[in-house]
């Protein structure tokens, strides 16, 4: 099209840009990566907004429900028994890009004053068959798919020219090998980077993600992409057959994405032992149910170990008494506590060890980085569980004085009932 003269003055970047756009498969690849990334971001945004709306609806329903219960009863024991409390963990402003473990760990929960160990493992999980497949979020696109796109884009950068017979000609006519391959690689890199991240930037703008988070994600993506590009170019330099290079690279990808994590997972599960969840529940149930038939003193002694203020309490009537009832609920938790703590410690340890394994697997590493920044990883789920525990504790702190001294209770005190949003202020130790 152009005369020879203009071709000589054109910058290498512009030349490569045009050259790239003329290769049909590169354009298809770029378009696909853009579409997939856009799909991930759009569905991510919609999922997050659905979760927020659900929480709003639940908050309202919860309020109505509790007000109804509170209107019906006057006795603090009944009030505590019939009042449910909603807890929830709101998705962060980056959650749209990394839905993380939120389809496995619950992010909404309702509890009441009874033994917590009997309630906290209830889960309101999403459709298990969909969870098993996993979601197509931006973090998945980056960690698992982008390496494949990069491999397809870069593995034959040099081999392609060689098989086309242009290689030697190009090398001899170019000013330097960097001017030739550098410009070509830079153009492709910029193209795939923008195709994958443009939807993310728009999503971040829509959901009000902080600029630091956006920059951090961009930086990690750039490093991650550079890693795969460098790997593809390095391996692609020597070998002559493009499919051979690509299969080697895909083999490496499978090693990083599947083999190392799966072996790591096996090793961790072999080495970290945790009590069975159902054992915690059974222990707790035995403790709570047996208490009905045990002498009151046995329960109250165990109770006053943690609440010495009420140690001189005497059950004033035979038969049923709310203070005693809630005391043995708490004792049930106390009995199950060692198992429960062991269970949580094991889970935490597994998470920690998984972090080390992720160091060996770049796809896992970037997935972990993004989900932890988005607060959608297992750690965020543990923190949420701890917040529920703290909140439950603050409910006990609120009700106990009135349970042990019901005459002093006035229904207006319900205004001071702890609220989940303020849990951390009620109980600063986390």
């Amino acid at each position: 099209m152009n005369g020879k003269k203009t071709n000589l003055t054109i910058s290498p970047i512009r030349r490569e840009w045009r050259f790239m756009l003329r290769q049909r498969y590169v354009v298809v690849l770029l378009l696909c990566s853009f579409l997939i990334s856009a799909f991930a971001v759009i569905t991510g945004l919609s999922e997050v907004s659905a979760q927020r709306q659900t929480i709003e609806r639940l908050k309202q329903a919860d309020n109505v429900d509790r007000i109804e219960a509170q209107a019906k009863y006057d006795d603090p024991g009944y009030l505590a028994y019939y009042s449910f409390h909603l807890t929830y963990s709101e998705p962060s402003n980056l959650a749209f890009a990394a839905l993380g473990e939120r389809d496995i760990y619950p992010w909404k929960h309702r509890i009441k004053m009874l033994a917590l160990e009997g309630q906290i493992y209830e889960s309101d999980a999403q459709n298990p068959e969909l969870a098993q497949t996993g979601k197509m979020d931006f973090a998945f696109v980056i960690s698992a798919l982008s390496p494949l796109f990069l491999i397809l884009l870069f593995h034959d950068l040099i081999a392609n020219e060689r098989t086309n017979g242009r290689h030697d000609f190009l090398v001899t006519t170019a000013k330097s090998s960097y001017a030739l391959w550098g410009a070509r690689a830079a153009v492709r890199f910029m193209a795939i980077f923008s195709c994958l991240l443009l939807p993310f930037y728009i999503g971040a703008l829509v959901s009000g993600t902080t600029i630091t988070n956006v920059l951090l994600v961009s930086l990690w993506c750039a490093i991650y992409f550079a890693f795969w590009t460098a790997l593809s170019l390095y391996l692609g330099k020597k070998a002559s057959s493009a499919p051979r290079i690509a299969s080697g690279l895909i083999g490496l990808w499978a090693l990083f994405a599947f083999v190392i994590p799966i072996l790591g997972n096996l090793a961790i599960n072999q080495n970290v032992h945790s009590p069975k969840g159902s054992d915690i529940l059974l222990t707790q149930r035995e403790a709570v149910n047996d208490a009905w038939d045990l002498p009151v003193k046995t329960t109250m002694d165990a109770f006053s170990v943690t609440h010495p203020d009420y140690s001189d309490y005497q059950k004033n009537e035979e038969g049923f008494d709310w203070a005693w009832y809630y005391a043995f609920q708490q004792v049930g938790d106390q009995v199950a506590a060692p198992l429960s703590i062991e269970y949580r410690d094991a889970t935490f340890k597994k998470h920690q060890l998984a972090g080390y394994i992720a160091m060996l697997s770049p796809p896992m590493l970037i997935l972990k980085l993004i989900t932890s920044l988005a607060e959608t990883d297992a750690l965020a789920a543990y923190k949420y569980e701890q917040k529920i525990r703290d909140f439950h504790h603050s409910l006990r702190v609120f009700y106990y004085p009135w349970l042990f001294n019901p005459d002093a209770f006035d229904k207006t005190y319900l205004n001071r009932l702890p609220r989940f949003e303020h849990t951390q202020q009620n109980n600063p130790k986390l």
Binding site: L58, Q132, A144, F258, K350, A354, I357, D377
Partner: protein
């Protein structure tokens, strides 16, 4: 072509094998593939066996502790509750399906329908987010990649090295070459399926229906054959090795890696489900209308009281030959269970519709088709989990109601009413522990063979369609290739 030259096809296939043996890449890929399948079969079989053993033991011990409870007020046993565990199906050692994502134990108690707890995935390391070492994963995702690595150049290689025209000139028809190469790839398919077959045989030995196992293995053979055909198609249609490889890899990324997740995400977004917590509020509102089963003075039961007094021709509930409190508990539990059932059915239907949306993507990706087919046939799909929920609910209802019946028949109304008046009255309001023997052994049995097979027909059609279309396309590509 009227006559199929079997000897020639055989010859082409043998030659392809000879090429693989000479090429280090192909043979190492082949070995890795078979080893990977084999080890995943072994590891998963051991794991599922252990899980099955554990859950049976826990079911047993839960029943033991229930029966060993001392004399008590029967309603106390209603709240003491019982556990049900789901033991995995024999074929779950090939496809664990949703097992790790659903809880496998349910706590059953009066007046409540709990959800399944302690999903294994929650205690996982999170490292298996991209894939798990189950035979299903290996064969569904990695095996197609192996077929691509081995076969991408099957035809295009001959063309690139000019041997294709030579072969054709010698009188070997293009369809003979394609069939020969296809036969070679098919033998790889059988090599990969072989470990699954062994495991399947073991499942039959454990009591799984032979028909189910055959259908399961047949489905995987169809799936991998579809991939072999895809490989042949691209290798025939594209003139260069590198083009064939790149295109196949790209197709693999789209069909195996992207499409399943696009399917599940689309399903979740287009049909959002309310979740248990949210429906619970509706349940509670509904239940408030029914009255409190713990309180026989609740106005909701006034009518019942009136009709009973008339029926037995007495003036007060104390004079009734049965315990009125027990009867109230029975009736309110029945009504409550009806409400709970309605809501849980609605929720399960929603989940099923969601899953259906996702499964329809099987028309677009054979991976989605085989994924559903495999889980359904193995009895590890969401349908089987729903069945578990329904069966445990029945178990819950039956044990709570038999306790309520004991309360009605064996405990006098006055003793029951006065149970909180001192130690003596407390002791009087009890029934003998021999009553706790009524708890029946719970053994979860997955859906029968014909149900699972009929559920899987939809996905079978999807796979057949894929194969039919690919055969037509290959025929077309072969004609153009000459």
């Amino acid at each position: 072509m009227s006559r199929i030259p079997k000897a020639q096809i055989w010859c082409v296939a043998k030659d392809e094998w000879r090429y693989w043996f000479r090429s280090k890449l192909a043979i190492s890929v082949l070995i890795i593939g078979v080893l990977l399948t084999f080890s995943s079969v072994v590891v998963t079989a051991f794991k599922m066996h252990e899980l099955s053993h554990d859950r049976q033991a826990m079911q047993h011990s839960s029943e033991e502790t229930f029966m060993q409870q001392p004399d008590k007020h029967p309603h106390r046993m209603v709240h003491y509750g019982h556990y049900a565990f789901r033991t995995p199906s024999p074929l779950s050692m090939l496809d664990p399906g949703v097992d790790a994502y659903t809880g496998n134990s349910i706590f059953l108690e009066g007046h409540r329908q709990n959800s399944a707890m302690f999903a294994e995935q929650k205690q996982g390391t999170g490292l298996t987010k991209l894939g798990n070492l189950s035979p299903a994963f290996v064969v569904q995702i990695l095996a197609p990649l192996l077929l691509i690595l081995i076969g991408y150049s099957a035809i295009s290689r001959e063309r690139e090295s000019q041997t294709l025209s030579f072969l054709l000139a010698q009188g070997t028809s293009i369809s003979t070459i394609i069939m020969g190469k296809g036969l070679a790839l098919l033998s790889v398919v059988f090599l990969i399926i072989f470990p699954l077959g062994l495991s399947g045989g073991f499942a039959v030995f454990q009591g799984e229906s032979l028909l189910v196992v055959v259908s399961f293995l047949g489905a995987y053979t169809l799936y991998l054959s579809a991939w072999a055909l895809l490989v042949l198609l691209f290798s025939t249609a594209l003139s260069k090795n590198s083009a064939s490889f790149t295109a196949l890899t790209f197709v693999w990324i789209l069909l195996c890696i992207a499409m399943p997740r696009i399917a599940s995400t689309t399903a979740a977004i287009s049909l959002p489900s309310a979740g248990k917590l949210e429906t619970d509020f509706a349940v509670i509102a509904e239940l408030r209308k029914l009255g409190d089963g713990h309180n026989s003075n609740d106005p909701a039961f006034a009518k019942l009281k009136q009709s009973l007094l008339q029926q037995y021709n007495v003036d007060s509930v104390e004079a009734l030959p049965i315990n009125f409190r027990g009867l109230v508990a029975t009736i309110s539990e029945a009504k409550l269970t009806e409400v709970l059932k309605q809501f849980s059915e609605v929720r399960m239907q929603q989940e099923l519709q969601q899953t259906q949306i996702s499964r329809n993507f099987g028309w677009l990706s054979p991976k989605v088709a085989i994924q559903a087919l495999s889980m359904i046939t193995a009895g590890t799909s969401i349908e089987t989990h729903h069945r578990f929920i329904r069966e445990t609910e029945e178990l819950r209802f039956s044990f709570v109601q038999s306790l309520n019946q004991i309360q009605t028949e064996q405990l006098s109304y006055l003793d029951d009413l006065n149970r909180n008046n001192g130690e003596e009255a407390w002791k009087k309001a009890r029934v003998s522990a021999t009553n706790w023997q009524m708890i029946k052994g719970f053994n979860f049995i997955i859906d029968d063979a014909s149900t699972r097979l009929s559920r899987s027909t939809h996905s079978f059609f999807q796979l057949f369609l894929w194969i039919a279309i690919l055969l037509v396309l290959i025929k077309f590509a072969g004609r153009r290739a000459i």
